[in-house]
Amino acid sequence: MHRARLTLLVGLGVALAATPGAARAQTVVGVQNLAFGTVIPGVPVTIAPTDAVRAGQYRITGLFLATVTVTFTLPTAMNRVGGGASIPLTFLNTSGQWDPAVGATTTFNPNSPYTAFVWLGTTLVSLGGRASPAPSQLGGSYTSNIIMTVIIN
């Protein structure tokens, strides 16, 4: 580790360590939906977690020297608003991205629990995926729900 990073860590660590434990709070928020936009029947669309505009994004803040386990409840399909059809949805081995304030950005498989150590600061968790509309896909809006669970170890 590299001296500048170490100095930054020590400085921020001292500031955080001075905060009483009872005052510590953590926030897990969804900041951006995973949005495939308009798709063409029969043409699969894959969104990478690095896609800053379309990837789903969660933000975790308020943790310090903590290990967290992140799990996703992922749908296998998106349902048409009003019913009558669905579009298969898959999440790939590299559809998840963990981008901490300190440390390297890594990709992970969101189909399995992902455990990481958080030094401090804000961690951005991004999620991509693949939608596979059928050639005869019925028009309309399709949606579903993704749940991210953050377990503070």
Binding site: P20, V28, Q32, L34, T38, F64, S141, M148, T149
Partner: protein
């Protein structure tokens, strides 16, 4: 100007997903309930601009390590047989609530333990689910275009510990091991808990060269409920060939928890040497 459905759909689809800030601040990140008061509290704050629907439920789990030393927690609905779970007799009030934008909400946790509960510590997890107002999905339901989006929900899981009677804790250490892994020294710290309560503490590790100079340090909060064998990575610059010592200090110093939450125990220290060739 009149927009056709197709143009409207395209326009909406091209609009980036809006910033949601869909979630709540949760404090503290560990709840301790004693047998005298039998209650605890969690404070929520919605920093966003839209109401957030919050649900509170309970599960069971505690940190364990896999063969690689990664710490993880698996949360089950209830405690397996033989485990000191509290999920069956904790209740949250309210269990569901809508927290208005930039509003606060307190969740009370009340315990009704069974009669004759033996002294000891009982473990569980509070699951706080948060979902915001639905964001309109780009597109029109009866359009021939197909638009697709997924909304996000979040769940934060924190520990809830119920304590009764005289509690003691501590850890014993099996032999440490250390090895250089790229830009870090990986230290395995195999701990076994003693006493009748979880060991909430901090592991500090430092790497010292043959002249006694500290060349790397790291610390990690740990909770040892039964056994834990975490891999602690101590970042180091390039190490010249030689023999190094890793010193490990484990104490119940936890600045992230409310005062007196970690049951005090005597520090445990050990060291191990490794060689860089």
């Amino acid at each position: 100007m009149k927009l056709s459905k197709r143009w409207l759909t395209t326009l909406l689809a091209l609009t980036p997903a809006p910033a949601l800030a869909q979630g709540v601040v949760v404090a503290p990140h560990a709840v301790f309930i004693d047998h005298a008061t039998r209650s605890g509290a969690i404070n929520l704050y919605n920093p966003g601009q839209d109401p957030v629907e919050v649900s509170v439920s309970f599960g069971f789990g505690y940190p364990t390590t896999d063969s690689a030393g990664t710490i993880k927690v698996e949360v089950a609905d209830s405690a397996p047989a033989g485990e000191p779970g509290n999920t069956g007799w904790l209740q949250a009030f309210p269990r569901r609530v809508t927290v208005g934008r930039q509003q606060r909400q307190t969740i009370r946790i009340l315990a009704t333990p069974p009669a004759g509960l033996p002294d000891g510590e009982y473990w569980g997890r509070v699951i706080i689910g948060a979902s915001g107002g639905k964001v309109p999905v780009a597109g029109i339901p009866d359009s021939s275009d197909i638009s697709v989006a997924l909304t996000l929900e979040v769940r934060t899981v924190i520990s809830v510990t119920y304590r009764k009677g005289v509690l003691t804790t501590g850890v014993t250490l099996a032999p440490l091991s250390a090895a250089l892994e790229t830009d870090s020294v990986a230290v395995r710290v195999p701990m076994t808990r003693t006493g009748n309560a979880a060991y909430l503490g901090t592991v500090r590790a430092e790497v010292v060269d043959s002249r006694g100079k500290v060349v790397g340090q790291a610390e990690r909060y740990v909770g040892v409920y039964h056994v834990l064998d975490p891999k602690i990575l101590v970042p180091v610059d390039t190490l010249p060939p030689g023999t190094y010592t890793v010193r490990v200090d484990i104490s119940t110093d936890r600045t992230d928890l409310p005062p007196r939450s970690a049951i005090p125990a005597s520090p445990v220290r050990d060291s191990v040497q490794f060689t860089v060739r």
